[in-house]
């Protein structure tokens, strides 16, 4: 049976795309054909008053950020002054090319009409204030909300972007974000994704990155919401001396399916990458991490490290970790490690033997496990506290 011959299901008809079967390797653990909801209409642009309310209860992460607002996928002008060196064009970036079933997330984003912006960071600009890309969703049943943006960080620049997804809807709705990041020579780009969509949300995210010589990407992903989440990261390490740092925390709640799939392509010599994910699975949550590292034949002296550690809190939940190394060069350092464990009984006993009640002791251990990633970010005290606050709320509600 091949893909073309399968009759389109309702989800495919509604989105106008073919969805991969589980035989497509990159979708083996996330079965969009059976798990993706049926979405028939683009969410309408909410009124100013409704839009304002959507963000309630989601306090700002960084007090000094300049935030670009999107409500139900529509860009809203809020007149927040941008820091010097940053310019925004309200123009939809061109759709990214789709290369077969592996790029289904791109295909879906292309097919549901999106709003978007193009952002430029000027050459040598050292932008201290973070730029927020805030998405709030009404999440009306059956609706879609999609955005697309392209960020160009010119050579020598330093900038920070916080892309955040917020919602409370328990009705089935779809949000999608496709982002391209072009990082110039000697530039540093910090990109932080905070996903807090409602429990009914299917969320499909994709970030494509290209790094020039001696540039640096610091990517952070915090998944703390959603029902079916697929966050893809594709990095083309195209300049010598490029460094990729990816850190992530995936909080997989009861009934949630959260998939983070990363592909790092080392295409030139002397590049480095470090990838660390910590995951907590509660209830009958399902977590997936696919981490691919490709090292081209000419990419000698690549140093790429990857680790994925999971705390599985219940017998019902599960986590699938698939590290994948494709190395064609002979002088490289590549390592990966994946662990899935329960809370360590001896650790728990030690804390309880000091009088800490079991629930509180478990809480301390789970929190320690994920907070470590945040504390190593170097994102500054305010952001780290904000992320830890989001983690704490999730843990309170889910463990």
């Amino acid at each position: 049976m091949n893909v073309q011959n399968i009759q389109k299901n309702a989800a495919e008809e509604a989105l106008g795309v073919s969805l991969p079967t589980r035989r497509v390797e990159s979708f083996h653990y996330t079965d969009l054909r059976s798990q993706l909801g049926t979405f028939t209409a683009k969410a309408e642009k909410p009124s100013e008053a409704d839009a304002k309310q959507l963000g309630d209860g989601f306090p700002r992460l960084a007090s000094n950020a300049a935030v670009l607002h999107f409500y139900d996928g529509h860009a809203f002008e809020r007149g927040e002054a941008l820091p010097g060196g940053v310019s925004v064009k309200t123009e939809l970036p061109k759709a990214m090319e789709v290369d077969g079933m592996d790029d289904t997330v791109l295909a879906i984003n292309n097919s549901i009409s999106a709003d978007g912006v193009m952002i430029n960071v000027a050459k040598n600009a050292n932008v201290e204030r973070p730029i927020g890309l805030a998405h709030a969703f009404t999440g009306k049943a059956g609706t879609t909300a999609a955005t697309r943006y392209a960020i160009q960080a010119a050579s020598g620049s330093t900038s920070t972007f916080i892309e955040r997804f917020m919602g409370r809807s328990k009705d089935a709705h779809l949000s999608s974000s496709v982002v391209s990041l072009d990082i110039g020579a000697d530039a540093t780009l910090n990109y932080l994704i905070v996903q807090q969509t409602g429990l009914g949300a299917d969320h499909l995210g994709h970030v494509s990155v290209k790094l020039a010589e001696n540039s640096k990407l610091n990517l952070f992903i915090l998944n703390a919401g959603g029902k079916l989440v697929r966050q893809e990261v594709k990095v083309d390490v195209a300049g010598e001396g490029g460094h990729v740092e990816i850190k992530g925390v995936n909080l997989v709640g009861d009934n949630a399916h959260i998939d983070v799939t990363t592909v790092l392509d080392h295409n030139v010599p002397n590049t480095t990458a470090n990838e660390l994910f910590r995951n907590v699975v509660a209830g009958d949550g399902h977590g997936v991490f696919q981490g691919q590292i490709k090292v081209a034949q000419i990419a000698q002296k690549t140093d790429a490290q990857m680790a994925c550690n999971t705390l599985l809190l219940t017998d019902e939940g599960d986590f699938s970790a698939k590290p994948e190394l494709e190395i064609f060069a002979d002088d490289v350092l590549c390592a990966h490690g994946a662990t899935v464990t329960d809370i360590d009984d001896d650790h728990l006993f030690y804390l309880r033997a000091r009088g800490i009640k079991e629930k509180a002791a478990r809480g301390l251990l789970i929190k320690a496990f994920v907070d470590e990633v945040v504390e190593e970010l170097g994102a500054g005290e305010e952001l780290e506290e904000a992320f830890i606050g989001i983690i704490d709320s999730w843990l309170d509600a889910n463990t």
């Binding site: 030690y350 309880r352 009088g355 079991e358 251990l365 929190k367």
Partner: protein
Amino acid sequence: MANKLKRRKEEKMLEIKNLHVRIAEDETEIIKGLDLTVKAGEVAAIMGPNGAGKSTLSYVLAGKEDYEVTEGEILFNGENLLDMEVDERAASGVFLAFQYPMEIPGVATMNFLKAAMNSQRKARNEAEYTTPEFIKKVKAASADLSIDFNMLKRALNVGFSGGEKKRAEILQMALLEPSLCVLDETDSGLDIDALKIVSDGVNALRDPARAFLVITHYQRLLDHIVPDTVHVLYNGRIIKTGDKSLALHLEENGYADVIASAA
């Protein structure tokens, strides 16, 4: 330090009667009819060869679930200790200084200490310490044990040397003010200087209302922490009880003759 402790010296604090314990997983019996009484104010040493059941006894007192009590009882201040949860035992005054203190990544020592102290106070319906009160107490207690206060900002026991870990155990003991302190081979892995600091820390906590169960292989710890009673544990039972001279006898002659005369 121990003004909250009201027990008088002659009262039985810990009574272990005909205790039988096996490893839950494979049902191997380790403790085979152990009797032991420790009074308030007493320092009781438990000595014995490898495999006698010394660490098992300490874990059973603290409530580790890997062990199953099949017979007998343990009374702590007249209450059935075996009915209590692990954290209830701690809040009611049982403290185990671990032979191998756990390294717990990501949990800052200070946060842990505060959680432990306030959790116990809450369980006893006492007011929780405020942060300044807490910090003052920790600073004073850590200075007594020559512990660098900055070390306590690090993750609990992570990267601590063997000596630092044992000192951190005694620090916890000093801060939590338990009434029964069980020291499981606290001397293992300590050099002479660290042994002195740890022993001084323990001696400073000696109190008519507090009892110590000092579990050790070697007599040398008992030069520093001088016991009132010495019990020989062998094959899951107390086979001989004496005063501190028994420890010296064991040091000189080994366990063989004590074991032979008990058989």
